[in-house]
């Protein structure tokens, strides 16, 4: 995010320094922009809207009717938990000054927003606003993983997993890339979270389900989505909210935000159409679940590139996202028989990685991008991107595996077969999704 400001001859380079030094003075030195603040306050609302209720509905419609409430519960509870953890320590670990360790992890100086008041600035906006905007990212990332384990994971396990994951995976990854850590130093480009959000969530989803195991009867007895309309509603909300996610990551109300919104929208539209057309060709019918899955794939893919590329890059990224992510859904579920139930890795992970790599390509001016940083070549940047993705993927995989094992031996990962048959709504939450009598 920061990096983007440089890449395009930052309108507020101070933002970088701020993030790097995280020093009160540096901030004080800076000046409040009401316009930028207005847009980021709005973007914060948009990104929260992505998770609540956007993602919750997107996922909720895809499961069986008897598990719909449990999915909503997971999204809401994880969001609340992430918010509290963010305040207590995660924000500080991600954006605080890590001193000697700063390359790897932030410090505890900003724990509980210590020393940060209404008048503290971060770049041209109040740090409270920056804190909130970033919080919404920390909310949606573990919530994305909810799509991997619906219909079978124990609620207490969901909570414990998410909490540890935020501290052991999200905080360091976020710090490396956006908090002035080693990847930021190396100049990795991740405008709005292809690495920090989608790679972490996607890879962790895959590893977690390998430990957790598939749903009972997978794949033969699995039922189709119980409410595609709910899923479409959620997908549309995600699309709208994504404007805040990507255009908000410009941290300003300017042309950079405008162009980020353009490419975000175009990639989503192209990926949607491509996904539908491929289904049409393969199965004779384009489905609404398919077209909105393409939307999400296109949005995830453009995310890391949204501050760097132009319309051409958006079209190509959307096109590839529609093709490759769809191919991966088949690979993971049908071929490899891994029950990443709602395709978190295939759609978000693969999309985010794809966009992170292509950002290096389509950022170059000759391809309509905003240009790479002074003296950096496409090849050089590409290597940096690969390093960024691999490093964070490894961190995510290893840490997730360890956390999963910890959860398994403590509160437990999985519900009983009987609870799974009855559905989690009744067995875990004592509620039923629909009573239309």
């Amino acid at each position: 995010m920061r990096f983007s400001r440089l890449a395009r001859g930052a309108t507020a380079p101070i933002a970088l320094i701020t993030a790097l030094t995280a020093s009160g003075q540096a901030m004080a030195a800076d000046e409040l922009s009401g316009a930028n603040t207005a847009w980021i306050l709005t973007s914060t609302a948009l990104v929260l809207f992505m998770t609540l209720p956007g993602l919750a509905l997107f996922y909720g419609g895809l499961v069986r009717a008897r598990n719909v409430l449990s999915v909503l519960m997971h999204c809401v509870a994880v969001a609340c938990l992430a918010s509290v953890a963010w305040l207590i320590i995660v924000y500080s670990l991600a954006f605080g000054d890590g001193g000697g360790m700063n390359a790897y992890i932030g410090g505890t100086g900003k724990a509980f927003l210590a020393g940060i008041g209404p008048d503290t600035l971060s770049g041209s906006i109040p740090e409270t606003v920056f804190f909130m905007f970033q919080m919404t990212f920390a909310i949606i990332t573990p919530a994305l993983i909810v799509g991997a384990f619906p219909e079978r994971m124990r609620f207490s396990g969901v909570l414990l997993f998410s909490l540890l994951w935020l501290i052991l995976v999200y905080a360091p990854a976020c710090h490396w890339v956006w908090g002035g850590g080693w990847l930021a130093e190396m100049g990795v480009m991740d405008f709005a979270g292809g690495i920090v959000v989608h790679t972490t969530a996607g890879v962790s989803a895959l590893v977690l389900v390998m430990v957790l195991g598939p749903r009972r009867g997978f794949p033969r007895e699995i039922r189709p989505p119980h409410s595609p309309g709910m899923t479409v509603t959620g997908a549309c909300m995600l699309w709208v909210g994504w404007y805040g996610f990507n255009a908000g990551s410009a941290l300003a109300a300017d042309g950079a935000a405008g162009m980020a919104m353009v490419v975000t929208h175009i990639s989503a539209a192209v990926a949607s159409l491509v996904w539908a057309v491929i289904e049409w060709a393969r199965f004779g019918k384009p489905s609404v679940i398919g077209i909105v899955t393409g939307t999400i794939a296109g949005l995830a893919a453009i995310t890391p590139a949204s501050g760097f590329v132009g319309p051409l890059g958006a079209v190509v990224i959307g096109l590839l996202a529609g093709i490759i992510c769809q191919w991966f859904t088949g690979l993971i579920k049908q071929t490899l028989k891994i029950d990443d139930s709602l395709d978190v890795f295939a759609v978000h992970g693969v999309g985010g990685i794809l966009g992170t790599l292509l950002a290096a390509v389509f950022a170059v001016e000759s391809l309509g991008g905003q240009g790479l940083a002074e003296g950096v070549t496409m090849g050089g940047q590409f290597v940096t991107q690969v390093i960024g993705v691999v490093a964070v993927a490894v961190l995510s995989a290893v840490a997730t595996w360890i956390i999963a094992k910890i959860v398994a031996v403590t509160v437990g990962l999985r519900v009983s077969e009987e609870e799974e048959i009855d559905g989690l709504d009744i067995s875990a939450h004592g509620e039923r999704g629909y009573d239309l009598t």
């Binding site: 699995i222 189709p224 489905s287 859904t329 579920k333």
Partner: protein
Amino acid sequence: MKMIVAILQPHRLDTVREALAGVGVHGMTVSEVQGYGRQGGHKEIYRGAEYEVHFVPKVKIEAAVSDDDEDRAVEAIQNAAQTGRIGDGKIFVLDISRAVRIRTGESGEDAL
């Protein structure tokens, strides 16, 4: 008395209701059911995964009629429900040993 149970194509329900009224049968009870038979179901595909759906939506009507009305009613249903396509459904007739109208307590054919 007879209980006529018929499984129908959902979109024929109104025609059948009218046909029954035509032969003097003015009461029935309808349920939405899932049918399984020659017609076979269909396949749904979500994100490349195929889901076999074996059952087809049908409606079931249950109409209690007097013994004399049986033939007329069965015939009326058959004509009104027929489209000639596989899946048109079935008519079954069972015996009723007793019938009561809850509101009045009347029993037998008066209850219908």
